[in-house]
Amino acid sequence: MDVGILAQQLFNGLMLGVIYAMIAVGFSLFFGVLDVIKFSHGDVVTVGAFSSLGAAGLAGGLVALPPVLALASGIAAAVAIGALAGVIIGRVLVLPLRHAPGVNVLLATLMAGTVLREAIRLGVPNGGNPKPFPALLPGGSIKAGSFSAGIDSVMILAAGLLLVLGTHLLITRTRFGLAIRAVAQDGEVARLSGIDFQTVVLGTFALGSALAAFAGCMLGLYYREINFNMGVLLGIIGFASAVVGGLGSMLGPIIGGFLFAGVQTLVVVALPVSSAYKDVIAFAAIIVLIAIFPTGLIAERRSERV
């Protein structure tokens, strides 16, 4: 295999990985602050994708906007509506069930995800069909030998990496991040030291969900096509990545996301006949890894929780 093709596969893996990581980070954030698994997370990705399509389409339909502004309105809508969905789910479903068994929250959020998905299917005109997503990023591609990458792909990759890095800095370097970490360590003590518990929890939900919604918008830009059930598998992959990386840590889900994408890509490279089984093999790898590292690659006790 020549170097160009190898680089191309590496790039494909990175693209997938950054999208998975953006989703996985949310799972880890929610688990960190409240010890809950929010299973509607994958559908928030879809909400983000459809909000950005709606906003970009609406903005473009009312006035002939240049792509940059349509893109900006699309991203703004995805992030705002995603964050709002996160806050509503957190406030209405998760916080009241905080002291109930964990499986209740899991079930409630799973149902909320179905509600979101069906609302898109039924509410969006012709919502059961895949929707073409406008190409709002600059076209053209970078070519070097047999390697070729769209400029838009590079921009999406960069944006994803910056966002994940930004979230990391937000958690580790800011006052809000300090509050999140304090709540994650011990909610009661954090409260006693004057931290507004509810605001911090809901802030975390807004943050994680906005990241997922942004990932949805990026997915639309990357694949140029979105559909109402795109979030189902992505949610499961994001969750698996977070668990294998280490739920509750910040670096873990990022490693998990890239690992999952890496295995998927490797399967296609090494065993083209079994392309259909790439998800099966990737999930099998996850099962093996969690058998070896039950608390994830970045074990919680060795890392600071969120």
Binding site: G128, P130, E225, P272, D279
Partner: protein, 384 residues
């Protein structure tokens, strides 16, 4: 009060034509196809065309019965297909069915129709086994199979000078069948398949597969799948920088493919067992009636087959009355039936004999190959 006066008004309006409304018995027919999901464009086109056949028949004073089309959504999923097929077949007031666009659903439901004795006419699914894989006298098909589409694909593409092929097919019976027949017919032509990629029908990311394909430098990629797979593959080919001609059989020959793939879809080749609607003697009349009926969706590539299947079923009922068994016998023996899609002749497996045609996506439309600018040499297909 308001309700009462509304009712009175309704009665007053209905009063002048009681005899016209009550004169004929109503016969129910089932239409089953994908009305939602990624394959709903051909599904809705088929439904509208069947609906049009019923409307025209109901407007005909010579018809002995009033027909009612009950529509079911199989979502292009075998499990949903079996549910709705059971619902339709177990309803004794339904006399016949015009069924299925998706092959994976079509093959899953044949047992159900046979068990309940509901005669059906397949209007879109092209998997050979639907008719040839069993001996159910309930199952008929007006459109062709992937055998003749695959044979034509292998023949036509090698004649165009393509030698190295890659097949990307979905892992349903439909995709696997296409791979099987294309591969089989390609061998004697001297063409070579350098790689085959079986993929899940709802896989989103194809960049890894396409990067492998880029390395193999095939002349042509054949899609063994339906529209969503075709759209994704086409969109991602450019992203990875794969230069190859794209072709697929009738599963991608939809308006949805052209819309989803946009400008990148230009030059895609497809094979379909129907001729262009304008080539049929009654084609123009069908299109005019379709437009006049005011349907929102296009009839799509298989609409004329759904229309023909519905008329075939209604004609059989006109002969025998609303009796599943008797009308099945009449359907079984269909020979020389003049339909919109040409003459329908069933062989001993109740399969209509048709020949396939070549199409190409040109300026946002599927154009009959001999009429296209590609055939005329004004535009060129992709060559690696």
């Amino acid at each position: 009060m308001k309700f009462k006066s509304g009712l009175l008004l309704l009665l007053a309006l209905a009063a002048p034509f009681p005899s016209a409304v009550l004169a004929k018995d109503t016969v129910k027919l089932a239409f089953i196809g994908p009305l939602s999901g990624g394959n709903s464009a051909p599904g809705l086109g088929g439904r509208n065309s069947a609906q049009l056949a019923v409307q025209l028949r109901n407007a005909d004073p010579a018809a002995k019965y009033t027909y009612e089309l009950i529509t079911f959504d199989d979502e292009c999923k075998p499990n949903v297909g079996i549910q709705v097929a059971t619902k339709a077949a177990s309803d004794n007031s339904i006399i016949a069915g015009i069924t299925h666009y998706c092959s994976a659903v079509g093959i899953a439901t044949v047992d159900t129709y046979s068990r309940f004795g509901l005669p059906v006419v397949v209007w879109g699914a092209i998997l050979p086994e639907i008719t040839y894989g069993n001996d159910y006298r309930e199952i008929h098909r007006v459109n062709g199979t992937m055998i003749n589409e695959g044979r034509l694909a292998a023949d036509f593409l090698t004649k165009q000078g393509y030698k190295k092929f890659v097949v990307v097919h979905d892992t349903t019976d439909y995709g696997k069948g296409q791979n099987k027949y294309f591969t089989e017919y390609l061998k004697p032509t001297g063409g070579e398949i350098v790689a085959t990629f079986p993929v899940s029908p709802d896989q989103q990311d194809f960049t890894a597969e396409l990067t492998r394909i880029k390395e193999l430098k095939p002349d042509l990629i054949l899609i063994g799948g339906l529209t969503p797979l075709g759209v994704r593959l086409r969109a991602q080919m450019d992203r990875v920088g794969v230069v190859a001609q794209l072709a697929g059989v009738s599963g991608i020959m939809t308006a949805g493919f052209l819309e989803g793939a946009g400008a990148a879809g230009e030059g895609t080749i497809s094979f379909h067992n129907g001729a262009p609607i304008s080539k049929y003697p009654q084609g123009q009349a069908f299109l005019e009636a379709y437009t006049k009926a005011g349907f929102r969706e296009d009839p799509d590539a298989y609409g004329p087959f759904a229309y023909s299947a519905t008329n075939l079923v209604m004609d059989a009922i006109e002969k025998t009355g609303p009796d599943r068994k008797k009308m099945k016998e009449v359907l079984n023996g269909t020979k020389g039936y003049k339909a919109l899609v040409g003459e329908i002749n069933f062989d001993d497996h109740r399969q209509n004999i048709v020949s396939a045609n070549v199409y190409v996506a040109q300026d946002g439309k599927w154009v009959y190959w001999p009429d296209s600018e590609y055939a005329a040499g004004k535009k060129k297909l992709a060559k690696n």
